[in-house]
């Protein structure tokens, strides 16, 4: 299972951080920290299946609907 974030859609609301803090965080500028490592689309490494519920919640609660779960 991977998580994919469309950083063009993402507006750094940070709601995902409450749902899945193991995966999502904000950097010191209040931006999604994935912006430090990707420009347009962030694709995670393989994530543990135990995170699925938290990631589904993060995808559901994203105001910009920028988060997708693959696999």
């Amino acid at each position: 299972m991977k998580v994919i974030v469309d950083l063009n859609k993402c507006n750094d609301h940070g709601q995902c951080v409450y749902s899945a803090p193991e995966v999502f965080s904000l950097n010191g500028r209040g931006e999604l920290s994935f912006r430090d490592e990707a420009k347009e689309i962030y694709v995670s490494d393989q994530l543990d299946e135990s995170l699925r519920d938290a990631l589904e919640e993060a995808a559901d609660i994203c105001p910009m609907q920028a988060i997708e779960i693959e696999g």
Binding site: Y18, L26, G28, G30, E31, A59, D60, I61, P63, Q65
Partner: protein, 401 residues
């Protein structure tokens, strides 16, 4: 076979159907919506979709249910329901039998009962409304927005950025008064004024004058505002008529218990804007919460709770979410946690950090408990203040139990 019907195919309904499907419920899920579209996201209608001229695909909501587990029926509304017999009657003549029901029928915008021309007066709730608004905008320079809530203010910001001259007309003395209070409303109003928005506050529109299209909005104090397009953003009514005749309290949405359940034994639940429920993290008063995030949270809870009940016969714990909302106006990110709207006493609303003319964090207190915060900017401090509200509520609950 009687499965579950989710009535209302917007955000709350979709998330309920998704959560029910993910719970493993195998009795069949039907999601029924009255709009012709697949589920889509409404907040962009007054912001990104308007300013950036996004098409429908950009606002379509994704489902997290496995393909084939939820049947979507669009363009159909419910005319009535018999909860006792578990039968829903649809506008196309069909009857759907159900063992569980999720009511997600939401709101419809209210129109003002004042004289107005037949063209050039619009509301914004649906994608069709946005398409109509765009075509109207091509013909005008001056726009009057009636109503100074979040939708009115977001539209004012978006249309100002697009180069229109915008007036906002409302009875309150500051915009967003009810959700944010006097001081923060006034501070946000100063941002709008600097950007060129005109405010006509503390007055009521009495007529939209013009022969075929609007020419001006006339108010009860004699003032008038030039406008070739008028947008009514004055509030809404709950869609509950289809539930009439079942002995329910529908005086302000659907009255539910702390598990979002109404009219029986936990098999009928309401979600989103139409659900009036007590959030026991705050108090026992049932309220409707018109936040985007609450549609998601109620939907997820209801789908899961219904799945557990119908598949395993298990009841769920009370629904005690942390409400949150956001609004983007000009360069400002406004973010709220908790229930700031509960606090009306101005002395209980205090600046916690920053100052009202720039980035600011405002705290809303009730009997010494921090029940809400609103942040303008301070994007790196969201976690901290959300946690502060949660801790304060927990401490208050601990002290009273």
């Amino acid at each position: 076979m009687a499965g579950v019907v989710v009535l209302g195919a917007s955000l709350g309904g979709l998330r309920a159907a998704d959560a029910l499907a993910r719970s493993g419920y195998s009795g069949g899920i039907t999601l029924v919506g009255d709009e012709p579209h697949q589920p889509y996201n409404r907040p962009p209608l007054s912001k990104e979709a308007l300013v950036e001229a996004q098409d429908f695909d950009a606002i379509r909501l994704r489902s997290s249910a496995k393909p084939g587990t939820v049947s979507l029926v669009t363009g159909v509304r419910a005319t009535s329901v018999d909860l006792g017999r578990g039968l829903l009657f649809l506008s196309d003549g069909r009857e759907l039998a159900f063992e569980g029901l999720v009511a997600a029928t939401g709101l419809r915008p209210r129109a003002l009962g004042i004289p107005k021309p037949s063209a050039g007066v619009v509301m914004l709730r649906t994608y069709e409304d946005l398409v109509r608004l765009r075509s109207e905008l091509a013909m005008v320079q001056d726009v009057a927005i009636i109503g100074a809530g979040f939708i009115g203010c977001e539209l004012a910001a978006s249309l100002t950025r697009l180069g229109y001259r915008v007036s906002v007309i409302a009875p309150e003395d500051v915009p967003m008064l009810r959700p944010l209070g006097e001081e923060l409303g006034a501070a946000l109003m100063r941002h709008h004024l600097r950007a060129g928005v005109t405010f006509g506050l503390e007055r009521l529109p009495v007529a939209i004058e013009g022969s075929e299209r609007p020419e001006r909005v006339v108010c009860n104090d004699g003032s008038s505002f030039e406008a070739q397009l008028v947008i009514e953003a004055v509030g809404s009514a709950t869609n509950t008529e289809w539930l009439d005749g079942n002995g329910l309290d529908l005086s302000d949405g659907i009255l539910c218990d702390e598990k979002l359940s109404f009219g029986g034994d936990g098999r009928f639940l309401a979600v989103g804007d139409v659900a009036r429920f007590p959030n026991l993290a705050f108090d026992a008063v049932p309220r409707r919460v018109e936040h985007w995030g609450m549609a998601v949270d109620t939907g997820r809870y209801a789908g899961k709770a219904l799945g557990h009940l119908l598949s395993q016969g298990e009841a769920s714990p009370a629904f005690t979410p942390m409400p949150a909302f956001w609004s983007d106006q000009f360069e400002l990110r406004i973010q709220s946690f908790g229930m700031p709207g509960l606090v009306t006493d101005a002395s209980e609303i205090r600046v916690l950090e920053g100052d009202l003319d720039g980035e600011v964090v405002v705290g809303y207190h009730r009997n010494g408990t921090l029940v809400g915060v609103v942040l303008v900017g301070f994007v790196q401090s969201h976690l901290k203040y959300r946690a502060a509200v949660a801790e304060s509520l927990e401490a208050a609950a601990g002290a009273s139990s």
